[in-house]
Amino acid sequence: MPKDHKVRILLGTRKGTYIVEGDARRTRWKVRPVAHPGNEVYHVVADPRHPGDLYAAVNNSFWGPAVHRSRNWGKTWKEIATPLTPSGKDRKPLFNDADPTTPVPRALNNLWHIEPGLPSEPTTLYLGADPHLLFRSPDQGASWEPLDSINNHPRKKEWAPGAGGACLHTIILDPREPKRLYIGLSAVGTFRSEDGGETWKATNRGVLAPFLPDKHPETGQCVHHVAVDAADPDTFYRQDHGGMYVSHDRMEKWTRIGKPLGDDFGFCVASPRSAPGRAYFVRLDGMARVTGEGYFQVHEWNDKTRTWRKLLGPKDFPGHFGVQREGIATDDLDPAGIYVGTTTGQLFVSPNGGKDWRLVPYQFPGIHSVTVASPSSR
């Protein structure tokens, strides 16, 4: 099979899945025909262990959530197994978030995030869903196992949803240690497991919960998204409702870095493979949830110098733009490509680490998620 040099931007939107293809120059793009038209697609991701395999979290307003898979870079898609849909006539729910000994009917809501496993686990997938659910598939989505340590967590009845629902939206694997997992839930916070998801430790120390009477609880923070540093798997960048943070110790403690920006609210963060120690945030007005200064803006955090750099000016892209938690992504090329999708359907691309920015000339539906499949990641 000839080597594929395409860069593919995968978009989950309010009205379907879009794949935007380009080459390593990342200056010209071709938008492929929409898939899952009319469906809310919260996440689309490529499986780097199996080139060509894509997974989509499709949330149909009428018929409910479903996992879809493509085996040919999105040319065709097929619905595969969806969690909490047991075989046969057994319709009993697989969990009870209030009291594990007393099942109550409660359906799966939206699917939020699909995470391919490590290269050492070539058929493993993880899936995060609402209400605060985590699943693992051992067989590329043919079946799903609930992780009851989260799904039946003894303190789950204390967990509140965020505005987007009770979503488990962030799943991060440690490339050095297959049993170490990190998750993020709204509005609960982050957790780390050292035993493959058997047990979990809340990891929110230092993160402000400005909307609670106790401003620094063990859990209850509204984490919006977390990115891991490509060169240092112990370092994480966090966009929380309560600001922008960094942790250098596997989330044991978080340090707020966003205060110099003033309002450091936002939803998304990404850290590229080719630029260790750099993280990119889209700062939003905390009340309006759009770029408050009246123009599209991305801020770069340099973790070595502990300084911020503002990447765009007021004349570049004027307007008020919203960006959701999965709305920013970086590729694996050098210099890094940075991709930002907005709630009003614009797709911004920087092919060179934030130096230059272009708008892909296509009006998409509101964009929920952006991921990138780039050649060096295969």
């Binding site: 307003s61 009428f62 018929w63 409910g64 319709r91 729910p93 009917p105």
Partner: protein, 107 residues
């Protein structure tokens, strides 16, 4: 959640199976019968069980995994909307047709 009976609930009838003509809207036909379908069932729940047995791709589209009708699905028995009242518990004794539609929603 469970849809309880209200003043609009149909009166209880003897649970003898009726032969019901089933009509699905065009969107649901992607998962189920494209043409005429007849099912003998004593309740909406049982009718959906049979329909899903015949057309497995319909499973969890009309009902979620707790067995309740999805929020934007409407079921009409002989022209009466039972989705917000007796729901899947609606008896079908004497009924002749059932229409399963998606509701007007979205944007």
């Amino acid at each position: 959640m469970a849809r309880k009976g209200t003043s609009r609930a149909r009166a209880p009838r003897a649970p003898s199976p009726s032969s019901i003509d089933v009509h699905l809207d065009s969107w649901l036909r992607e998962f189920g019968p494209r043409g005429h379908e007849t099912i003998e069932a004593e309740s909406v729940e049982r009718l959906l069980d049979v329909l899903e047995e015949r057309y497995p791709r319909l499973r969890f589209k009309v009902r979620d995994e707790t067995g309740h009708l999805r929020r934007y699905v409407r079921v009409f028995v002989d022209g009466e909307d039972v989705s917000g009242t007796t729901g899947v518990a609606t008896p079908l004794a004497g009924a002749r047709t059932i229409d399963i539609l998606h509701s007007i929603a979205g944007g």
